[in-house]
Amino acid sequence: MLGFEAAMPQFQALGAQVVGVSTDPALSLAAWQKENNAGGKQILLSDFPRRQMLTAYGALETNEQSPVYRYAKRAYYIIDKTGTVKYIKVMDNPLNLLSADEVLAALKQSGAAT
C-alpha cells in the first residue's frame, strides 16, 4: 500500500492507475491515509458494507461457521486498457504481499501497459 504510493511515478510512467479496494469503511480508510501521509495518487475505494466487488472478483473470504466472517483476500489484478482482466494473483495468506517492484514487473510482463 505505502510501497505502491512510493512507486507511483513508475506506475504512471507505464500509464497505469493504481486502485486499492478495502472492506473497511471510507472514514477508517481516510483516517489511515491521513495518519500514514499516504497521499492521493492511488484511488482508494471502500466496498463496505456490501462487499459486492469482492464477490464479483472472487476475493471474498468467508467462513461457513460465521455469517459475519466476510473479509477481503489480498489479491492483485491487472486490467488492460479495454477493461479486460489479464493477470490475477490471489494470496493464500493476507499477510503475504507483493512488493511494488514485483507488481511493476508483472505489469510490464503482462503486456497490458504497451
Partner: protein, 71 residues
C-alpha cells in the same frame, strides 16, 4: 592447484548467485494469466471523499487493482 572442473563449477555458482539477485522473476511470482481473458466486472464504489468511482471512468488506462485491508 585448481582443476578445470573446479573452475567451471565456481563460475556456475557465481552465475547462479548473480541471476538470483536480478530483478524479480515473473514466473516465480505465480502471477497467473487469466485465461481466457474476461471483461473486468464493473464496479461503482465510494472513494474516501464519498464520491463514487466507476471502472468505466478508467477505460483507456491500465488498471492495477488490488484488495487490501488494515489486517
Amino acid at each position: 592447484m585448481k582443476t578445470p572442473s573446479t573452475v567451471v563449477l565456481g563460475v556456475a555458482v557465481i552465475l547462479a548467485a548473480t541471476s538470483a539477485l536480478a530483478a524479480p522473476d515473473f514466473a516465480s511470482m505465480q502471477v497467473t494469466p487469466y485465461e481466457p481473458p474476461k471483461p473486468a466486472p464493473a464496479f461503482s464504489l465510494p472513494g474516501l471523499d464519498g464520491k463514487e468511482s466507476h471502472l468505466s471512468d478508467l477505460r483507456g488506462k491500465v488498471v492495477m487493482l488490488f484488495f487490501w485491508a488494515t489486517w
